[in-house]
Symmetry: C2
Subunit: 145 residues, 2 copies
């Protein structure tokens, strides 16, 4: 089985959604994120470091340090997180793995697939963290059920 996003990207999206579900500007430690989301702590730490480099979140070192969103949740799109971690290759490479893709030589599925892929891209571009806050809170509340 394969998947749309890498584990890194899934965890990154979860973590950023988690941050957005908190108070705006609130600081959360990697440890809390790892515990609440059941993600290996060392792994999520690395991912949070990446997202910090990408300018999506800020980090604060030292005691009572942690991570917070670098912008208002309304200004962080899901596609930004995906681009920072997995990149956008998934939206330009062939579903069937054929080489030499071009408008003249599309793969057999392109017509059908292209439309879906564009929808997915648009969806990730339209959805911002703030729009998902309520649903995230609801999901988080039931994670350890």
């Amino acid at each position: 089985m394969t998947v749309i996003f890498s584990k890194k990207c899934e965890y990154g999206l979860q973590a950023v959604l988690y941050l957005a579900a908190k108070e705006v500007g609130g600081i959360v430690s990697a440890d809390e994120i790892a515990k609440k989301l059941n993600i290996p702590k060392e792994f999520v730490s690395k991912i949070l470091q990446n997202l910090t480099e990408s300018g999506i979140i800020n980090s604060k070192k030292g005691k009572s340090g942690g991570f917070s969103l670098a912008k208002h949740p309304a200004n962080i799109r899901l596609i930004d997180v995906v681009a920072a971690i997995d990149g956008l290759g998934i939206f330009s490479t062939c579903v069937l793995g054929f080489p030499n893709c071009s408008p003249d030589h599309p793969c057999p599925l392109h017509e059908k697939w292209g439309a879906l892929r564009t929808s997915a891209y648009n969806m990730l571009t339209e959805q911002t963290l703030d729009q998902l806050k309520e649903k995230t809170l609801h999901k988080i509340a039931h994670l350890e059920a």
Copy 2:
């Protein structure tokens, strides 16, 4: 970057499309498929063996042996190939990797994502090999360009 289908599945789909682009009932060797599609021969051989076990293609051993579709191309859907290789997990697991998915506790993206996923599933279910024959021929003709 990640991808929808595993390499195995991509190659499997390519190979089956290639078979369907040939004469109905025609036998093609793993060697020819590997050369034409630029896939490692040993790898595609293994995949073809899998598809044979799954009943999607037939194999003929010995000199002038090879592989052929087990059914008429109109009766082989893309989803059948995907199910045989990657399985259908991708259509039921969470895009965001959240656990405990249920109608009561969907992940924040489910509403938007579910629709897309269903579209993808339907597309793969509706598309049969024969419908893609012309496009496959066109793509194959330009692979080594």
